[in-house]
């Protein structure tokens, strides 16, 4: 079967139970929100192909169970992931504090150069907020990771978050390929042309999220 995409990126959603990982993924893959979701047991993934600077990028996004106990199983699926969304719930202090543990968890189980991003989800629930946006930003600065607040329910920034992560991975990949193979003349599904390096439009990002 012919490949219908130029790149395949494996992404991963992690974070405490109930922060909204499955809801975020459902929003991104189906553009829908379901009030009666069930908790995730084990692991699953969804696919969505996006268009990034003229390239078809197939995102394979893995959704894991949040409860600590299942981590020995879920970490088996970290392998090979190129980007990780660390999700906390802005109405739940504990889930925010645990981001540090999740980062440690990544360091132990995922490849060192995996792209990361922190999401503060459920930002539609302003009245119940326990974690301010500033604290989220501060944490992100501390770890040098991009950060954005999202709402799976109101479809706020979910799309942008995935695009950002995908774009960063793509940029990193292209840079790597460039370095390892500077000659440039290549073709094929997972290859890129050298001149695309110039089209790396990341400048807007440094303004709205932190690096």
């Amino acid at each position: 079967m012919a490949k219908t995409y130029d790149y395949l990126f494996k992404l991963l959603l992690i974070g405490d139970s109930g922060v909204g990982k499955t809801s975020i993924l459902f929003r991104f893959s189906e553009d829908a929100f379901n009030i009666s979701f069930i908790s995730t047991i084990g692991i699953d993934f969804k696919i969505r192909t996006i268009d990034l600077d003229g390239k078809k990028v197939k995102l394979q996004i893995w959704d894991t169970a949040g409860q600590e106990r299942f981590r020995t199983i879920t970490t088996a699926y970290y392998r090979g992931s190129m980007g990780i969304m660390l999700v906390y719930d802005v109405t739940n202090e504990k889930s925010f504090e645990n981001i540090k543990n999740w980062i440690r968890n990544i360091e132990e189980n995922a490849s060192a150069d995996v792209e990361k991003m922190i999401l503060g989800n459920k930002c539609d629930l302003e009245a119940k907020r326990q974690v301010s946006k500033e604290r989220g930003e501060q944490l992100a600065v501390e770890y040098q990771i991009k950060f954005i607040e999202t709402s799976a329910k109101d479809s706020l920034n979910v799309e942008s978050a995935f695009y950002t992560l995908a774009r960063d991975i793509k940029a990193k990949m292209e840079k790597k390929q460039e370095a390892s193979n500077p000659a440039g003349a290549r073709s094929g599904a997972h290859q890129i042309r050298a001149n695309e390096q110039q089209r790396k439009p990341t400048s807007w990002l440094s303004r709205c999220s932190l690096l």
Partner: protein
């Protein structure tokens, strides 16, 4: 129900149960053309009076909230094809400041009360959906930008009962608004179609197994059940069915004797060929244990004496729905089988008191105490999160402020007190929900839950050792029963069987409908025909997918996806029957290993007292006491015979099938 506050506390009167963005209005009777082709959101809304509506809202109702909407992001969003409409917050949530623009936009909302919905259809490759409340006219047509109308249909089906029309696979006719309990009762009535006569035959068969196990070969068994299921009409009235049983038994007996002698001389050849499993016997399912039978099984004091027989019946056909409430308490070790009614009454009283004293322990905790008790708080917050996400599409747990959710939560919190070390682990609410739904009583549900948890507690080990152990055992069983598939999985980095994790953790709860999971669980609770039969259920499901997995050369991710997507597409009776067939194949295989024996709880070779003597070895005393003509068979597979083995009906069958294997070899 503040303790399990649900999604949010907005002053909304109605609630969006499901929302799908990116839906264009393509056509709507009585609407100006200007309204068409605008993009919006299609929702399933629950109104204040619990009635439901399909609602389409144009996107102009959605405005950008400048407080939270980062303009930078808005610019970026246009990169995404769908972002121009997918952002922002719904004005609806900011009640009180409705602008006039907003009011006109509101008038453009389209509402279709689900009660009035007659038919709908999905066309154009999942991109178009049409609704009708009047036969013959499609009043509204929507275009799904993401081509995912099937998802909307899937959720809509939670609220209406539909049938597909014969001439058009894409058109659904609404039969009635879905009240699942009604659907359930109906299906159970449909299930009880078997006559009492048939049950008697099965019962006879079971007693035959008990009395003369060696004479009841697997072959005879499947022939018999064929008659029970397919030939009954022909026999009806002319001849007593049990005569038929005797006849067949005799016939198969004779056949067996002949074949055994023949095979005997070839013994070593048979064993030396490449170890393959004997053919899989097809074993039809039986009828559910009927109320009449159940009451008849009790003595005047209410004691149940024929425990093994009852379990056999339940293993064969499950339990009739009307007596599940009663029978499950026994199967889950809440009610001891040998207790009289009077004793049970006393027990219930004691257990009720015990339950409420444990419940009081957390109920009486002050806020301050709780604040200083982080371990309890953690468990409690996990419970709350999961209670809100457990079987909410089932009417019994649906809607806000549903008192059944409070009970679900109370039981789980009391269980935390009952077993604080284990506490609460995700998955437990899945285990409890069907019990509560069936029993409807807090105390009974709790103790039955305790009984179920005792059976599967190791699934929830802190280090997941129990799960890993089971996954390993599953892998070993699969290697034995379906080596080709096991090999494929190993090649594809899936030998750890992690993709079966969900199946095992909650005993297939997520894979079957509510109705089917009751059947599967009650069968598994009998612990028949062997230990770890649930692993053979896994093998049965996987074996049915073997051809797809191998021929399509599925890899690591495809395997996981394929297995996850089997959820709700599995036929419980077929799987039970296959699993039993595989069980017989496995235990009658000449190359059966101790590793497999241990998994299935069979006595191992090394522990066996009898020696593996030649084929002329004298028969063991056990065979003699059983007075069967199995001597030759026993001699041949003499090492398999063990005192323990003979005590259980399930295991007796296993010995018999070794002879069948000899027959068929």
């Amino acid at each position: 129900m503040s303790r399990s506050s649900s999604v949010e506390d907005l002053p909304e009167q109605c609630k969006d149960l499901f929302t799908q963005d990116g839906v264009l209005l393509k056509a709507c009777l009585g609407r100006p053309v200007t309204d068409l082709n605008s993009i919006g959101m299609l929702c399933i809304v629950q109104n204040q009076d619990n009635s439901k509506t399909i609602e389409w809202r144009p996107n102009d109702l959605i405005t950008i909230d400048s407080d939270t909407q980062d303009q930078e992001w808005a610019v970026v969003n246009t990169i995404g094809i769908t972002m121009s409409f997918a952002k922002g917050r719904r004005q609806r949530t900011l009640s009180g400041n409705i602008t006039s623009d907003y009011a006109t936009a509101r008038a453009r909302i389209i509402k279709i009360p689900i009660e009035e919905l007659k038919t709908f259809r999905v066309t154009r490759n999942n991109q178009q959906m049409q609704f009708s409340t009047k036969p013959g006219v499609w009043q509204t047509t929507f275009y799904f930008q993401h081509g995912n109308a099937e998802i909307f249909v899937a959720y809509l089906k939670n609220h209406v009962k539909t049938a597909k029309t014969r001439h058009d696979r894409n058109t659904y006719v609404v039969v009635e608004p879905n009240i699942e309990s009604q659907v359930l009762n109906k299906s159970f009535a449909e299930l009880d179609i078997f006559t009492e006569n048939t049950t008697d035959v099965v019962w006879n068969l079971v007693s035959n197994f008990k009395q003369r196990p060696y004479e009841t070969t697997m072959e005879a068994f499947s022939k018999l059940t064929d008659i029970v299921y397919y030939g009954n009409e022909g026999v009806n009235g002319k001849r007593d069915v049990s005569e038929e049983v005797v006849d067949l038994l005799t016939k198969s007996m004779n056949a067996m004797e002949e074949a055994t002698t023949v095979t005997k001389s070839d013994e070593y050849e048979v064993i030396s060929v490449k170890p393959t499993l004997p053919p899989r016997p097809s074993i039809p399912r039986g009828t559910p244990l009927s109320p009449e039978k159940w009451w008849a099984l009790q003595d005047t004091e209410g004691r149940i004496t024929e425990v093994e027989g009852v379990k056999q019946l339940i293993f064969r056909g499950g339990v009739a729905h009307s007596i599940r409430q009663c029978v499950w308490k026994y199967l889950l070790d809440y009610h001891p089988w040998h207790m009289s009614n009077a004793e049970l009454k006393a027990l219930t009283k004691k257990k009720t008191e015990e339950y409420f004293s444990m419940k009081l322990q957390w109920r009486s905790m002050t806020e301050g105490q709780e604040a200083r008790f982080s371990e309890y708080r953690d468990r409690k917050s996990l419970v709350e999160k999961d209670v809100n996400r457990t079987d909410r599409t089932h009417p019994f747990f649906a809607g806000d402020n549903n008192p059944n959710l409070v009970i679900l939560q109370d039981i789980l919190l009391t269980y935390v007190m009952y077993n604080f070390d284990l506490g609460y682990v995700q998955g437990m609410s899945d285990i409890l929900a069907p019990l509560l739904l069936l029993l409807g009583n807090e105390v009974d549900s709790f103790w039955c839950f305790v009984g179920f948890m005792d059976k599967i507690a190791s699934n929830f080990d802190m280090d997941q050792a129990g799960m890993k152990h089971q996954l390993l055992q599953l892998q070993q069983l699969l290697t034995f029963a379906s080596p080709e598939l096991a090999n494929h999985l190993a090649q594809k980095d899936s030998g750890n069987m992690y993709f079966c994790f969900r199946w095992l953790l909650v005993w297939f709860k997520r894979e079957f409908s509510h109705r089917d999971i009751m059947r599967l669980w009650e069968v598994l609770w009998t612990s028949l025909p062997c230990a770890n039969f649930h692993l053979l259920i896994c093998v049965a499901i996987l074996d049915a997918e073997k051809d797809i997995l191998i021929s399509k050369d599925y890899g690591f991710t495809e395997i996981l996806k394929h297995v996850n997507d089997l959820s709700m597409c599995l036929d419980v009776d077929k799987i039970l029957s296959t699993a039993e067939g595989i069980y017989h194949q496995v235990v009658s295989a000449p190359h059966l290993t101790d590793q497999i024996r241990i998994i299935l709880g069979l006595p191992t070779m090394s522990n066996s007292t009898s020696t593996h003597s030649g084929s002329d070895a004298p028969t063991t005393s056990k065979s003699e006491t059983n007075g069967t003509k199995e001597d030759q068979g026993t001699g041949m597979f003499g090492q398999e015979m063990d005192e323990d083995t003979l005590e259980y009906n399930g295991l007796q069958i296993c010995i018999v099938t070794k002879t069948v294997w000899a027959l068929l070899a």
